[in-house]
């Protein structure tokens, strides 16, 4: 995880979850829920990744006076990075889909 230029799946899921303000621990259950339990983000991975995202200024603390626990949200830079990675993933999926749509070569 030297650079976050090309986001790993875990980083991608975590950033997607922080498109709105959330507690760190809420990310784990959310990701599990939307992937029907297929993707599980471990707490040590999550903590390491959140720290990294803050250092890179992709995520920041969200000021929430009502919450005892820390709430995070994507920064403007974080949103741009996530958008760029969505495009990269779209290209990838498009390529595979086009290939399959051509049908089997006899």
């Amino acid at each position: 995880m030297k650079s976050l230029e090309q986001l790993t799946d875990s980083v991608f899921y975590i950033m997607a979850a922080f498109t709105e303000p959330r507690h760190g621990y809420a990310v784990m259950s959310l990701v599990e829920e939307i992937t029907n339990g297929e993707v599980n983000i471990g707490p040590a991975s999550l903590y390491t990744i959140i720290k990294k995202l803050i250092k890179q200024e992709y995520v920041e603390l969200f000021d929430d006076a009502n919450s005892r626990r820390k709430v995070y949200v994507l920064t403007e830079r974080g949103r741009e990075i996530l958008q760029a990675d969505i495009e990269r993933r779209k290209t990838m999926v498009q390529f595979a889909e086009d290939g399959l749509n051509k049908g089997r070569v006899q």
Binding site: G24, Y25, M28, I41, G42, A44, S45, L46, K52, R69
Partner: protein, 178 residues
């Protein structure tokens, strides 16, 4: 309170072996209570079928609360923390604390960095002391001899630990490529 003790196999070398040992002790009714200076302390409790995980992070008390909250939400109960080493337990089948190789690599690198620094420092000390031993006379020669023995005693275990961490890093790197 009845207590028993066990020496660690060395976390850099045999982390899994230690965690398995903690699991066996828990099944026998000895729950690990603390881990300090390579020594585990156990207290007598009812037998428990639990698995253990260990993580390494230098945390401020405020961060530690958040960190333990995350683990608790994932089913991992905090057991003990000391000098950036954190021990957790969970029921068998709980998903692992590291779910992707990239962040596991980060963890090993973070742990390895200070070890590498001390190893290099010990090596430099050894060389300097050796130079005094060979080149200087009288008092400096004596000081060199003493310094050499002290630094070599420090250097050899540090070098072994560095190598163990380096091998661990190669292993996780390999698994992240597969």
């Amino acid at each position: 309170m009845k207590k028993t003790y066990k020496i660690s196999n060395g976390l850099a070398f045999f982390e899994q072996k230690d965690l398995q040992m903690l699991r066996e002790k828990a099944a026998e009714g000895w729950m690990v209570e603390s881990f300090k200076g390579g020594l585990y302390t156990f207290t007598k409790s009812g037998p428990e079928d639990v698995i253990f995980s260990i993580d390494y992070h230098e945390l401020t008390p405020e961060d530690e609360e958040e960190y333990c909250d995350l683990f608790a939400a994932a089913g991992w109960t905090h057991v003990y923390s000391h000098t950036g080493i954190h021990l957790f337990k969970a029921v068998p089948g709980t998903p692992p604390i590291y779910s992707d190789a990239a962040s596991k690599t980060d963890q090993v690198k973070r742990t390895a960095k200070p070890v590498y620094i001390v190893t290099i420092a010990a090596l430099l000390f050894t060389i300097i002391a050796l130079a005094f031993m060979k080149l200087a006379e009288g008092f400096l020669n004596q000081a060199g001899k003493i310094g050499f023995f002290i630094s070599i005693v420090l250097f050899i275990p540090m070098l072994m630990t560095s190598m163990a961490l380096f091998i661990q890093l190669l292993k996780v790197n390999k698994s992240s490529k597969n």
